[in-house]
Structure formats: C-alpha cells, structure tokens
C-alpha cells in the first residue's frame, strides 16, 4: 500500500503543468531523434545536459525519460515505413512491419506498434514501481556464465527463425560474428582485424551496419529490379485502422513481448535487442498464420514493439535501485542525476522519493502522450509511401548518409556504410537473411567477453557453465531449440513410414 501512496504522490508531482510540458518536449524530441538513424536518444540527452543545467532536477529528468521512451517509439516508425530502423532495437519491427507497409497495411502496423508500445510500457512501468527491489536482486545474481547461456539461446533461435534454411541463417549469423571480432579485444586490449586503421579500433558501429544493410541495401535492390517489374506500392489497402482481426492477433503478442522485454531489459547486460528477437521468434512459432510471416504478419510487429518498450522500462530498474546504467541512454540519465548532486542507488528511494516516484509517474504520462501524439499521425506517415519510388529511395539514401555522418564524422565510416549497402544488396539478391548479421555483431562480442570472464573467474574450468542452475537451464533450452527441428523431422519420417 505504501507503494500506492508513493505513486499517487508521484502522479501529483508529474501532473504539475511545468512537468507535463517537459514530458511533452521530451517525447516529441525523442520521437524526432528516434526517426533519424544514427542519432539515438543517448546523444540527444548528452547534448541537452548542459542546456538543462539550470532547470530543476525533477523537470529535466522527466524530460530525459520522455526522450528515452519517445526514441524507442520513433525508431519503429521509420523501420515500418522505409525499412530503416532508427536504432538496433527496432530491427525486428522492420522485418514484418515494412512488408505490411508495402502491402498497404502500414496503418495497422503503425497502430499496433503504437498501442503495443503503450500497453507494454504501461505494464512494465507498473512492474518497475512494484517489482524493482525484487527484480534487481535477481538481476545482480545473473553472472557472466548465465549471460553467455542467454546469448546461446538467442543465437539458436535467431538462426533457426530467419531465412529459408538454418544454413542460410547461420551463414549470415557468422558474417556478423566475424564483423564483431573487429576492434580492440575487451579483455586484453589488443587490436584485432583493424589493419592499422584507428577508426576500426572501436569495432563496427551497429547503426552503420544496420542502416547499410537495411536501407542502402534495399535502395540498391529496388533500383536493380526496376527494369524487370515495377513494384507498385499501395499506400493504403483496406482499413487504415486496425480491424477486429488485427486486435485479436495483436493482444497476446503484446503481453508476451512485455514478458520478454521487461526482465531482460532489467539485466545489467540484457539490452533491447535480445527480447525483440526472442519475441519475433516466439510469435513466428505460435502464430496461426505461419504463411504470412515474411510477407507482413501483424504478430511480428506487435510482439517486438512491445518487447522494445518494455525493455526500456526494464533498464530503469537497475538505474534507479543500484545506480547501474545498462544502456547508453541510461548512462546519460545517470550523468543527469549526478549533475544535480544526486546519486542513484539504494539511497535514492529513501532520500528523494518525490523525484523517483515523480519520474515513474511521468513514465505513465509519457506513454499516454506518445499514444496521443502518434495515432493521429499514422494517416500522415502512411502518405510517405505514396511518394514515387525513385524519390523515396533517393531520400532514404540521403537520410542514411546524413545520420551516419552526424553520429561519426569520418570517411571510413561512410565507406563502411557504402560497403555494407553493397553487401546488403548481394545478400538480398542471393536470398540470405540480413537480420542475423546485425544480431551477430551485437551479441557476438558480448557472448565472447562473458564466456571469457566466466572462465577467468573459474580459473579455466568449463564446468562453471553447468554449475549455475540458470546457465544450465538456458543452455538446455538452447540445445533443445537446436535439435528439436531435426528430431521432429525424424519423427515425421517415422510416422510416414508407418502409414
């Protein structure tokens, strides 16, 4: 009950007109920067820090939270409409969302993503308010070996889900893993595969790879197909709004996405990518319309979008309770706290309850605002697709280059963007799925360093991977997921023989 009273007090703080205004500015800015590839919420918060220096702490933190949620949301708009994920967390959304948009169902795709984000964000924020202390205990107990096992689950599901065959999926995944090796080795500090180019020492930027593969690759592919058959895009076919069936097919993925997103987001090294892809794989398996996956299935948008937003709330759990920033944006918010001499951590709830609960309450409000801001815009956004293809794709190319340059002004970076664009084109041409490449780049280095940390702590004894119950369970799941398709096939053959 204490929590309710505190939350009610927080609502009163957040509902102050000035704070409502900050939240509105936050979600608006967040949506705008989320739309631009390369400029994420982290950079925006960093640039705004000196500006907000003079504001009162409550107001500016509420604004930062709005930027965070808005950014998570804005990234999915471009992912759906022009296949350009504004950030890596909206990659899974692009897979089905863009197919839906091309089939004239952009309206329902944007709507399910908006409402899904709202539902997931709200549930996760409730979770943040009530479960934070318990969840953080669990998160802290998650050791390097457990992370490694979680990554294994992600690798197996990803390579099994994408592409026509596991071999193609695995090939793409391994390309990503190799790209992930480039740069300074985190554990020994030695450069790998950098060929003496200083820009490569930090490794390949995820957004550069994602934008190159998705957006530039797509533009090249469309250009190459133009002489054969011109793809006719219909901006709207059927209802602009979600139909009854759309609702029926969306609500379960929303809830399941939230269940993936919130706990994994709360893990110190969880991130938003794993839950979105786990959600995508799960929906693909559970759907009643498997033939639609790959052609624009609404479940494939609803689930990952919900997971994406739920994980954003999840990252606030360790930030507020431990002072543990688990994403770039959370790290910037931590800097924001410190700017006011506040140290997030076990003491923050006790020392500044008005601030913490005001922040949590404003997350509810930010969610409502995002919904109100975005639903009316759906009709407007969809009109983007009516732009003649050559213009649209030329625009996308400009957009992609500008985003990359803004994030990292260097010739090397731009050349990489072009290189990845050509790679994306070739992979499309020869039917290799592109998403596993990006997954490999994101998760490969994490899996590697977690495994090596686990082994360093256990003094090289690999049994540590099985001694932790969590790790053993996760590895078991990965093994079953890897073998199940083959076993099923075998059983099927067995049955066929009997007949």
């Amino acid at each position: 009950m204490e929590t309710f009273a505190a939350l009610a007090h927080g609502m009163a703080v957040a509902m102050q007109p000035m704070n409502l205004l900050y939240a509105l500015i936050g979600v608006f800015l967040g949506t705008v920067v989320g739309v631009l590839p390369g400029i994420g919420p982290a950079l925006t918060v960093a640039l705004l820090l000196p500006v907000t220096y003079k504001l009162d702490p409550g107001g500016s933190l509420i604004m930062f939270a709005g930027i965070y949620y808005g950014g998570m949301y804005g990234g999915s708009t471009t992912a759906i409409l022009i296949n350009t994920p504004g950030e890596s967390a909206s990659m899974a959304t692009a897979l089905e969302g863009n197919k839906m948009a091309k089939a004239g169902r952009g309206g329902p795709a944007l709507a399910t993503s908006a409402i899904g984000s709202f539902v997931a964000g709200t549930i996760a924020t409730i979770g943040l308010a009530f479960l934070a202390p318990w969840l953080v205990d669990f998160a802290v107990r998650f050791g390097p070996e457990d992370y490694f096992a979680l990554m294994c689950v992600a690798f197996v599901t990803v390579s099994a889900t994408f592409g026509d065959s596991p071999i193609r999926g695995l090939t793409s995944l391994f390309i990503g893993l190799i790209l992930g090796l480039i740069g300074i080795d985190k554990l020994t500090g030695q450069p790998r595969l950098a060929f003496g180019i200083p820009e490569l020492l930090d490794g390949v930027e995820v957004t550069t790879l994602a934008v190159g593969l998705f957006a530039v690759g797509e533009a090249l592919y469309v250009a190459s197909r133009r002489h054969h058959t011109e793809e006719k895009l219909e901006p709207i076919r059927g209802s602009l709004w979600m139909t009854r069936q759309d609702w029926q097919r969306s609500w379960k993925p929303w809830l399941r996405g939230t269940l993936f997103g919130f706990p994994i987001g709360a893990l110190p090294a969880g991130g938003a990518e794993i839950p979105t892809f786990l959600s995508y794989s799960t929906e693909k398996r559970l759907t009643k319309y498997p033939e639609e996956f790959g052609k624009g299935a609404i479940e494939g948008v609803a689930g990952p979008e919900a997971a994406n937003n739920a994980s954003a709330a999840g990252t606030l759990v360790p930030l507020l309770t431990l002072g543990l920033p688990t994403s770039a944006t959370a790290a910037m918010m931590l800097a924001g706290f410190q700017q006011y001499g506040l140290n997030p951590g076990p003491l923050l709830f006790a020392e500044r309850p008005d601030l913490v609960w005001g922040l949590i309450a404003s997350l509810f409000i930010a969610n409502v605002m995002l919904l109100v801001l975005n639903l009316p815009l759906v009709g407007l956004w969809v009109k983007l697709l009516a732009i003649p293809q050559p213009w649209l794709y030329a625009g996308i190319l400009v957009f992609a280059c500008m985003g990359t340059i803004a994030a990292k002004p260097s010739v090397v970076e731009l050349s990489m963007l072009a290189g990845f664009g050509v790679m994306g084109f070739l992979m499309r041409r020869f039917d290799f799925p592109i998403a596993p490449v990006v997954i490999g780049l994101i998760l490969g280095p994490i899996a590697e360093s977690q495994l090596r940390r686990a082994l360093a702590i256990s003094l090289g004894d690999p049994m540590v991977l099985l001694q932790s119950p969590m790790s053993a369970t996760l590895l078991g799941i990965a093994l079953i997921a890897l073998l199940a398709p083959f076993v099923m096939k075998g059983l099927g053959r067995f049955k066929a023989n009997e007949d």
Binding site: K186, Q190, D202, L322, Q339, P344, P346, A456, I457
Partner: protein, 322 residues
C-alpha cells in the same frame, strides 16, 4: 544533424555578438576537443570547461567537438595533425589515454602535444561485497599472496586506470603483477553488478561511482588511493594500512604542437582564470571532482612521470609488448 544545426546556431550567435559588442571582440574563441563519445568523463570535462570559460567571461565562445575512438587514440591523432599551430584549440585527456596510446601502438604520442594543465582528479577505491570475509586491505593482500589467481578483480576496460591499479596493488604487496586475475567490464555499471552478486572477489573503481553503495552498506571499502585520508570519510588509505599505493585518475588539458610561446601563455592564462572562477568551483562540487590544478613545467614533468609509470605497469602485466 543536430550537431550540425548546433554549430550553425553557434556561428550565428557568435556573429551577432561580434557585431553587437566590439568590446568583447578581444576575447577568445576556443575549440575544445573531447576525444571520446558524448557522456563520458572527458566529454563532461570538456563541457564543464565550456560552461566555466564562458560563464567567467574568459572566452566569448567555446565549441566542444567529440572525436570518439580507442581510448582517445583517434582523437589525439586528429588533434596533433589537424590543429598543429592553432593557438585556439585544446584537447581534454587523462590517465586512461596514456595506457590506450601505448597499447594501441599509436603513432602519435602525448610527447607531441603542448601540456597546459592538470585540472581534476578522482580517488580510486577497492571494494568487496558486504558479506565478504575480507575486512581490510591487508586481508586482501594475504589472499593475494596465498593464491593470486583465485583473487578476481572487477573493473573498467583493459589497460585503464582500474587495471593499472590492480597491478600496482599486487606489486606493492610483493606479489607477481603478471598473474593478477583482472576481469575487465565495460563501465562501472556492469562491474558493480558482478561485485554485488559476489561473482568476483573485489572491485576497483573511482570512489564517487561506488559511494552510494558504500554508504548504504552493500559494499565495503577496503581502502582508497589518496595520500591522506579524505576529510570526513572513515575509509582508510592504503598507505596507512602499510601498502604503498598512491594513485589518482587525473584529467588534464593540452594544446596542439607547434604553437608559439605567446599562444601557450594565452591558453595558460585562460585556463588559470577559469580554474579560479566560481563557475568552475561550482561544477567541481556538483560532479564530485577534486581540484588538482597543476600547470606549467610541473605539469609537463608530471605527465612524463605518469607516462613512464603506466607504461612500465602495462609492460609488467603483458598488455604492452616491449
């Protein structure tokens, strides 16, 4: 694009100001490079300088640029080559850059830049989880001597200040620094989780980062690296526990190579005025940074000594091949 707009805006504001107030035209227009992404310690230092230099009226405008990459190796290369002879540019750097340059075999070194001043420093701490059997730094020393490989240290990036400190601690108690089992994490956050979860024996970080946990009793501080006990703190130094380990994570500011003595003097004066301004003191207080202003030849000397010490340590743990 945001940055681009910000730059345009900055230029526009500068132009208007220049036209409106000829008296101010004498003032400096500076560029400060943070050789890291927005948000980190160097970026915060650069932006703090920007605030203080403008607020105290030393400079009319200060533009912060971020060149991220490889612990500053990318930034310093661009700074040394691109800003040569430019008396209006400065770059923030610090302890971590010394190690990064050595490890990355950077063709550009800190000997090429013109030292201006050390600005801040942060005291380092070793912590253990609250339920750890280790109570003092000597307990940790005994554990290290018993079996060095079994004692795991969590801290920041390989070759960074935390790693160097683990090696120095082992060296100071007479253990083999080469065998220190140091586990690098990206950033204080992730390593904190590993310490709280008792996945490692001990953790190393800047004191301010773990202060909340220490005060709330979730972590126990075994010792700090300052010369003397910090005022108002009950954490003992390593020195008073008989371990000769004194170290601080310092941040400084340097100018490009090839500037004239007059240009150097101008920058020296500007930084000195800034350090003495109230705006700067306010920022230090807010961020919890300690004032460590040191300029001129004393700073140049200090830089040389730290360079030698860090390179030696990194060689001894095998991160830099001689």
């Amino acid at each position: 694009m945001l940055q681009y707009h910000a730059r345009l805006l900055g230029a526009a504001v500068a132009l208007t100001l220049a036209a409106a107030s000829p008296a101010l035209a004498q003032q400096l227009e500076l560029k400060v490079m943070a050789p890291a992404a927005p948000g980190g310690g160097w970026d915060q230092t650069a932006r703090a300088m920007q605030q203080a230099l403008v607020a105290s009226g030393v400079a009319r405008s200060v533009q912060v640029t971020n060149v991220a990459g490889a612990g500053g190796s990318v930034g310093i290369a661009q700074f040394v080559n691109g800003a040569k002879g430019d008396g209006n540019q400065m770059m923030v750097n610090g302890f971590v850059m010394v190690g990064a340059l050595a490890m990355n075999k950077s063709p550009v070194t800190l000997e090429q830049v013109t030292p201006i001043a050390r600005l801040t420093e942060e005291i380092q701490v070793i912590v253990v989880p609250a339920n750890s059997p280790l109570k003092t730094a000597q307990d940790l020393a005994a554990a290290l001597k018993a079996d060095i490989a079994k004692v795991t240290f969590a801290g920041g990036s390989a070759g960074g200040v935390d790693h160097v400190m683990a090696a120095l601690f082992a060296g100071a108690i007479g253990a083999d620094a080469k065998k220190v089992n140091y586990i690098p994490f990206s950033g204080g956050g992730e390593s904190l989780a590993a310490i709280l979860g008792a996945k490692v024996t001990a953790g190393i970080s800047g004191l301010s980062e773990y202060e909340g946990q220490i005060k709330s009793g979730k972590l126990r501080a075994l010792g700090v690296t300052s010369e003397k006990r910090i005022a108002g703190s009950d954490i003992p130094t390593f020195k008073e526990q008989g371990i000769d380990l004194v170290l601080a994570n310092w941040r400084s500011v340097v100018a490009p190579p090839g500037i004239t003595p007059e240009q150097k003097q101008k920058l020296n004066d500007a930084v000195e005025k800034m350090v003495k301004s109230d705006a700067w003191k306010d920022i230090l207080k807010q961020k919890g940074w300690d004032d460590a202003y040191l300029s001129g030849d004393a700073f140049a000397d200090f830089l040389k000594k730290e360079n030698a010490r860090v390179t030696d340590v990194l060689k001894s743990v095998g991160l830099v091949k001689s």
